[in-house]
């Protein structure tokens, strides 16, 4: 089974990138399932039901979130009944929504788990311990994909090595810059520190260059706007032999219309 994991979709530019490139990627690489991080889908901050629906239309099966989960208040209106969007599992247990989902595709059970890091982020419970508490309930899935949404490279990699062999893949999100370390760890778990950004090419982490440069020069409050112009998609393709439970390959799939 071929699974595509798409990096943080940044506002209108990111959604446009999906419209432009996703179909072609799906056809060319015979993609069976698409996961995307949607924490920035609505204007760069959070997600609305409307933008979520738009992303599903482009073919995305599961949306994951991160530190921007609650930025757009519309999420409180739909996260409870919309079964295809998950937020970090290690948010407080009384928060709306859920941290994992199991869907059936090609007669296989695929579980997607969303975790958020503790280093250089807001305060959260331990992603490792919450995951280990969940694990017995999901371990019989044919495929398990973790979106580990975090800042520090060491934390992402340490988690992935700690669960190496227990899950199909740990995909890092959040920095909006793709890393050059896609690999399969010794016990079979595929990994990349950060899958990157789906949004405007001429941007700083998806935002208008001028906003971010002004912030650098003044440290004054700046209104950040999602950048426009040419767009790109950053993603990774996971080729999984779900019969023998082997992840055969993780490869980078990037497109842009520069």
């Amino acid at each position: 089974m071929n699974i595509l994991f798409v990096g943080d979709v940044m506002g209108r530019a990111g959604r446009r990138a999906l419209r432009k490139f996703l179909d072609k990627i799906v056809k060319k690489h015979e993609v069976d399932l698409i996961i995307a991080n949607g924490e920035n889908a609505a204007g760069g901050f959070g997600i609305t039901e409307k933008t979520a629906e738009e992303l599903y239309e482009y073919g995305i099966d599961v949306l994951t979130m991160g530190n921007h989960t609650w930025d757009n208040k519309d999420i409180f209106n739909f996260i409870e009944y919309n079964k295809r969007i998950i937020r970090p599992l290690n948010f407080p247990k009384n928060n709306p929504g859920r941290g994992w989902i199991t869907i059936n595709k090609n007669n296989k059970n695929i579980t997607v788990v969303n975790l958020i890091g503790q280093v250089y982020m807001n305060t959260h419970d331990s992603p490792y311990h919450e995951f280990m508490e969940l694990y017995p309930a999901i371990k019989d899935s044919d495929i398990i994909i973790v979106d580990f949404h975090a800042e520090a490279s060491g934390e992402k990699m340490a988690f992935a090595r700690a669960v190496d062999g227990m899950v199909t893949a740990v995909i890092g999100t959040h920095t909006h810059v793709q890393t050059n370390d896609a690999q399969i760890f010794p016990k079979g778990t595929a990994y990349i520190t950060d899958v990157g950004l789906t949004g405007a090419v001429d941007s700083i982490i998806g935002m208008k260059v001028e906003n971010m440069v002004e912030k650098m020069k003044t440290s004054l409050p700046v209104r950040y706007e999602v950048a426009t112009g040419a767009v790109k998609i950053n993603s990774v393709l996971l080729e999984v032999d779900e019969i023998n439970r082997i992840t055969e390959n993780i490869s980078i799939i990037n497109k842009n219309n520069l």
Copy 2:
């Protein structure tokens, strides 16, 4: 002129990688000047005079540092008179050492500046404002290379866009994971968010996997040791037309002995 910038050299494994790969890279790519980040050269924490000398022997011209600058106390014995090692410019002005150096190679003046970020790091003065204060003194150099040692992708990129056209290249260091975004910005400054790690392949940011995984599982104090085994070099090659002051290319040069 061809300049090689080598990612954080991590302990004995990193030094071994340089011994194995540097000569071949220099020959194949006709490298004229080598800069390396040396903040982890001695056992992963700081640098000693002995390890600095070893790095010079392998052909490195200039060593830059970062948040680990003062980890090994030996640095206080040699940083003042060793002219080829620099530490972040935006450390306090009364700190030993200096934040930039101009060397002459092939009859050209090449200035290397070391800066450290403010986001998710210890407390430092503004790298942007310190750089702008320095700039009049270095702006007539034929080539200016900045090592921007920082955690946050947005901060590195915002600095680079703020000085686009003023310097030859801004090379990010510190995360020990190479990013997949080497590029030349609109006004000619070459850039990569993080050049990566020179050290052990089977490691977490250069450290032993078992140490980092234990930390993830227990949150207890852990003694980190530099990983061993197969090694890699992560670097970028800058091809500069120093006559017309144009950076023609930035490309990734990675080698390992897996």
Copy 3:
């Protein structure tokens, strides 16, 4: 000369406390000059020209700010020409406003300096080094009062001990909780780690209890509102013998209408 330093004035409740208590304190303690931290004066976040004018009417001579300086955009309209409001000196030099002021009262020159800490705050230049750079320009003032706006107790006290004997007083602000350590250091500088809060009594750091408790229980975004009800003023009185340049006393002056 008797100087009153008033802790962070929190919204409408804080302004009401000033209206109620300030005149009586001034009469009883023969106060000659009043300084107040105004970073939360307008709805808890920043200050407007209107609220600043209201504070001047109550008798405040100088307003200092902190991390909330720019929260209310109205400040950009008046900070440049309003000479009695200062913002942290160690903000970037190109920021609007200024970090210190010298006013004349009773034929004496009184300088007030505003600094902001680096520990557990946003990123700022070193308050110590910026202060030392300023010092030659202000050192002949008869009285020098520093508002050191910071989170960490150790940072506030270390700064104060570093400048002990150079200034009349270092008054900590920001935590909104008064500390019980008002004292005069060996070389004569008066000090308190935090002067506290001027605002609602039944509050958490001036905000409605229910908002802060909800945040504790859910970690979800919460709209913070300034608390109402009975109010208090937290302040310290500095008794200065400005002829002999001796700070004779620092004492706590708190009032409430419970």
Copy 4:
């Protein structure tokens, strides 16, 4: 019943303060039970079995810890079998030691719980949610005292208001500076944001002034040593009517030999 809670005991100076003042306080105020924060008891960093035993000899019944729990490796030798020392409950569940203890005194069950904050600290699980999970097991105790070891005033106070009426007292520790806000909340829980420091008077948070000032001036690595000279004890006395389960009073008890 009268309970004394003693602020962070800082090295040899702190232990000396206990030897000097504790007996007199116990006699004068008819203290029945003494709790002290011992995270800095051994040289300022952590605790050893020997220093713990010394503290018990001075009359301390229960020792609580904090972010320095594991600084001195000796703790791993005795925390499991020493029943009178507790470490933060919201450390990972697989850590040695335990987060609460119930002891019997005067035929009453007194439970002491140790929690650590999440704001401006290392990464920890939610103290609020961990406490609520524990609560059913301890709620029938006659008295419940919580040491909430945290940096941010707002976090301490928000926790205390969230559990107001459920526990006898929430006592803040960690900043090493006593706050001036000891009070009883509307539903009966006694509270102080920080009980303060038991250690050297002429110190910065218990450390030598010269070390902390040098750090402020240079930002270079500094070896911190516990300060010496005159000593003080910072503590609060809780007067509890355990029959009617009412906390009648919280008052500050400070002594020094200046």
